[in-house]
Symmetry: C2
Amino acid sequence: MDDEAPGLPRRPRADGQRTRQLILREAVSLATVDGLEGLSIGNLAKALGISKSGLYAHFGSKQELQLATVDEAGRIFQAEVVEPALAAPAGLAQLVAVCDAFFDHLQRRTLPGGCFFAGAALEMGTRPGPVKERVAGFQGAFVGLIRQFAAAALRQQQLPAAEDPDFLAFELNGIILAADTNFVLHDDTGVLDLARQVVRRRLGVAPAQLDAGDDLR
Amino acid sequence: MDDEAPGLPRRPRADGQRTRQLILREAVSLATVDGLEGLSIGNLAKALGISKSGLYAHFGSKQELQLATVDEAGRIFQAEVVEPALAAPAGLAQLVAVCDAFFDHLQRRTLPGGCFFAGAALEMGTRPGPVKERVAGFQGAFVGLIRQFAAAALRQQQLPAAEDPDFLAFELNGIILAADTNFVLHDDTGVLDLARQVVRRRLGVAPAQLDAGDDLR
DNA sequence: GTCAATGTAGCACGACCGTTCGTGCTGCCA
DNA sequence: TGGCAGCACGAACGGTCGTGCTACATTGAC
C-alpha cells in the first residue's frame, strides 16, 4: 500500500505525518463534494490553512495525492462499514449488518458528499490509469465481501437454496448504490429508512425497529 | 422545457439550430467522460472544430449550456430507453423491457461514458442549483416510471401480491445503477448479461436467450 | 549543541478556465 | 433586393490550475 522508492531514504518527521494525515482526511471530504478530479491543490490548501507548496511537499504530484486519498477513503470505509459488519455473527445477520453499516455511514454524514467510492467509481471509470485501478480494486473487494457473506448465509441455509451469491451480491450492491444516489440527490434520510426496509424484505428477515435505540437522529 | 426569456425575442436561424444540436450531442458525450462540471467550453469547441466564442453565441453561460445538455441527454434517454419500454405490452413485460432497454443502451455505447444521468446525479448531488434540480427531476421521473410499470404488473397479478411498487422500483433502479457502475468500471459486457439475468430472476420470469437474435455483438 | 534533513512559505511559470469584446459574414424576411 | 439579426471568429481579460524553485524555520539524531 504505502510503498516508497527505496532509493530515496525518506524518513518523515512526526509532525509531517500528522499534517499528511490531516491533509488526506480533508482531501477525502472535499473529493466527495468536488470529485476526485475536481479536487484541486489550491482549494485543499485553502481549506487546511496552509500553502499550496507546503501541501505539495507531501505529494510529488496530483496523482500521488489522489492515490493516497483513495487509500485514506478505503481506511475510513473499512472502519465505518466493513468492521461493524465483521463484528456481526456470520451468515444472514452479517449480510444485513453490512448494508445497515453502509446506511448508517451515510446517515452519520462522515463525508459531506455521500459515499466516496460510489462517486469515484463513476468519475474515474472513464479515465484509465492507476487511480481508476485502485478505485476498482476497492469496489471489487467490497462486492466480494458481500458475496462471501451471502455464500456463508447460504451454507447455513438461512436463505432459499435457489439464491445465488453472485446475483445477491449484485442486487445488494445495487440497493446500496441506489440509496447513496437518492440520498445525495434529495438529502432525505427517509431514503435510508426505505433502503433498510428493502434489504430486509429482500432477504426475508423481520423489519427492524427503525426508531428504537438508534442515536443517529 | 426550452423556455426562453420572453423579453428577448430570439429568433434562431436554421443553420444555427443545427449547430446548436451538434454542440449538444457532443456535450452529452463529453459530459459522460469528463463530467458535467468537468465539461469545458474550450474542450467542447475543440472537439467540434469551432471557436470558443462561436460556441458561446448559442449559450449565454456555462450553466445554460449545462441545462441544455441535461435536456438533450434526457431526449436521448427517452428515445433509447423509455420509448422502447413503452412499446412493450403493459405489465410485467414492460418492467423487464425497461431494464433491458437500459442495458442495451449501455451495450450499444451510444455515450462513451455510460449512463449520463447516473454520473450526473452523483456529481451534481453535492452542488445545489438549477442543474442539480433538473437532473433530479429526470431521475425522479424515471424511478416513477418504473414504479408505474410495477404497479401495473401488480394490478394484473403478474407479481406476488406481497410486492410493493416503491420497493421494487428502488431495487430495479439499484440493479440499473450497479450495472452502469460495473460496466463503466470494468468495461465488460458480461456485467450486462449478469444484470439481465438478475432482473429476470428477481421478477420470476424465464431467463432470456441472450445469444439469439440480438445484433448488439 | 551542532547540523543535516525535513517541513513550510513565497513566488513564478505556462496552460487552461469561463467570459467579454469588436468585427466581419450570411441566411432570412420585408 | 436591402437590411438586419443571428452566427462565427480572433483576441484578450482576470482567475485558477498543477508544478517547479528558492529560502527560511523546525526538528531529531549524534
